[in-house]
Symmetry: C2
């Protein structure tokens, strides 16, 4: 008998019928004797409906009241899911974030969890009840309702699993798990049976959006075994494991992530003096623009080129900011290129295995794809290339690293 926390997202509970299907799924775990704590999101569409009303009311809705408003979405789901379970003869009790007492900080609409009181939940489990908790929400020290930001239900589930010392935290979603890359780009992308937290973090932040990144950090920090799996199809999903599997001889690459939605800015000919990178990036980040890849290189003439990427939508604004400071920077030129993309190899094996980078560059060269920027970290190598080569590059890498070969499955997981 295990204690399992399960989280079902908005699509999984998008209608009365789907909530009934989720109840059936939960019942199976209960039947085999597991204690189950369920975390649910708002029914799909509901958060948008509520947000639209708030925006109709005011351009920038009061954050405190936004949280009061949005938190009703999950509250509806917990009630309906409990009814679906009760109808099937299972004892079930719903709890809002405030009722559990999921204590957060004061930051309305993007609060962070501080502490979870497990008393009420444990008491219900002791009485053989299924506990259904509203995701995405908590309460601050003053008893005001807070929300964790979009996707926060994943974080609720992981935090609950940590607080309850659960055996596993299962995140049910509309995909079967984590793939070696996007199956829409590479046909033989295959499902990973396991992946490390660090790999998952890199894959998530690089665009393979299956789990909210905060929840993965949280799970890693509190060592909660996390599993991503499909609500709609049977299957073991992907386990996000606490440690890399040391038994594996050749743990090279877990997957390939990519980001289409970036723009590249290059500031050329700035003097090679201390503080110049700050002078370039400072005004951009002061304007609230998030900067992704940054590279700097000294040119032969002793001046510097600084290149970085931002979200494509911020490209023009960033260019305008840099143009306005280019005189004081003594820059030769500010160049904006929106036709780029980023492709990244991710894998903990990279740490100990030389030759991954050269194999990557060779595969791209063979397709005549020019690399504009290279950045590396412990478990990731990213390249920025011309946007039109994205699919070609991902497929070439997927094949070069034999990610698509089912026979290779055991060696890469």
């Amino acid at each position: 008998m295990a204690l399992i926390v399960q989280k079902y997202g908005g699509t999984s509970v998008g209608s009365v019928e789907r909530i009934e299907a989720v109840a059936e799924k939960i019942a199976k775990f209960r039947d085999r004797g597991d204690d189950v704590v369920i975390v649910v999101s708002a029914m799909s569409g509901e958060t948008n409906r509520l947000t639209a009303m708030a925006l109709e009311m005011m351009e920038q809705p009061t954050p405190r009241e936004m949280d009061v408003l949005l938190s009703t979405g999950e509250q509806v789901t917990i009630a309906l899911l409990c009814m679906a379970l009760e109808k099937r003869g299972y004892g079930a009790r719903s709890f809002t974030g405030g009722q559990v007492r999921i204590l957060t900080d004061e930051a309305h609409t993007k609060a962070r969890i501080r502490e979870i009181d497990s008393t009420r939940i444990m008491a219900q489990l002791d009485q053989q009840n299924i506990v259904v908790v509203a995701g995405f929400q908590g309460v601050n020290e003053n008893g005001c309702i807070t929300t964790l930001g979009r996707g926060g239900s994943d974080t609720t589930a992981v935090a609950l699993a940590a607080a309850l010392d659960a055996d596993e935290c299962q995140i049910y979603t509309d995909v079967k798990g984590v793939y070696t890359t996007d199956p829409r780009v590479v046909e033989d992308a295959h499902l990973l049976s396991s992946i490390t937290f660090e790999e998952m973090l890199e894959l998530a932040s690089l665009g393979a959006k299956v789990l909210q990144i905060r929840s993965v950090e949280f799970a890693g920090k509190y060592k909660v075994p996390l599993r991503v799996l499909s609500t709609f199809e049977e299957g073991p999903g992907t386990l996000i494991s606490l440690e890399e599997d040391t038994a594996m001889e050749d743990p090279s690459i877990a997957g390939i992530a990519f980001e289409r939605d970036e723009a590249k800015l290059t500031v050329t000919g700035v003097p090679d003096v201390p503080g110049i990178a700050y002078n370039v990036i400072g005004p951009v980040s002061d304007a609230g623009i998030e900067v992704d890849v940054i590279v700097q290189n000294v040119a032969a003439d002793g001046t510097n080129d600084i290149t970085f990427t931002v979200k494509c939508a911020e490209g023009d604004r960033t260019k305008a900011i840099l143009d306005s400071v280019s005189n004081s920077l003594e820059a030769r030129e500010v160049i904006l290129d929106k036709k780029i993309c980023k492709v990244s190899l991710v894998g903990v094996g990279m740490r100990s295995h030389a030759g991954i980078a050269s194999k990557m560059f060779k595969a791209l060269a063979e397709e005549n794809i020019n690399i504009q920027i290279i950045t590396t970290s412990e478990i990731k190598i990213s390249v920025v290339i011309e946007e039109k080569y994205l699919e070609l590059a991902v497929r070439a890498l997927h094949s070069a690293f034999e990610l698509g070969d089912p026979d290779a499955e055991n060696s890469i997981n």
Copy 2:
């Protein structure tokens, strides 16, 4: 500077635009320096939408979860109304029933308020904020969400006014106040500027449904001055006053109520022995059927006729019950008549003024309306007559008691 509790019902807050209009109304009170605490219902249609989902899920939804579900309706409104106030530059803070701590008993879906903690509300008023409270909901000793049943928002408002020792509790609705009778039946029915609690109770229970009757009882018990007025039209509405106005010389009739939806049952020829009324009414009330008017009269032959009324929809079921026991009752006959109605005169003045009853009977006799049953109480006289005479009777009485004459307004209020 006064402390005013205002309640706005579902129609008053039925859309973003209407909530904005309510915010404008509230702002006027705030501008003149009043402290205001607002109680709101769910946006019209919302409770029905939520109920429909629950009924789709299960025939008899779990009461505990029904309350979790339905309480979201008011929670949406409090958030939106606070936004509308903040947008206009007024500080506003929303509270759910649980956040105020409106403590109720355990009876889910029909809970009763036990106690209200006014600390948080008073603290917000001290900070010059408008407080917006979700009506209809509370929380029990265990922290579970409870609801007060449909129309419970009126009760929330009155209970809050009592707990806060408010100067007035204003119930905004879609009618201008309490009329001498239904304006759809009598054209010159006029708005009462005031009415006593007792009169209001009789009028409400007799069919002039403006306020939820529980809230009127509550207001009477805790001596909360209660005013009914329109959200959509300016006007002073009707004050439900704590005491009858002793300055008035001729306080006769406050209004005329009527009930179309009744059926009359007569059990004839039962022996005139102790316990016979119980033997007739007992089986009916055991079946959960509410009995309204009851009269009993000894006939010349020493047997008894017992007559009573029930809701029309319960007529056939009641007849069947009586038929099944008529042998043991030794009854001659059980007669069901669905074509009846009840008309009632209500007024505290009745207590001290003779002649009201005879004036009533005379007015009906002049229209050739036969009276089938008469019952009286301290402040009310009801007659049961043939249903087709309802409008005629109400108009005749309205005119006989000069309720329609605007010049008579001062004398009757």
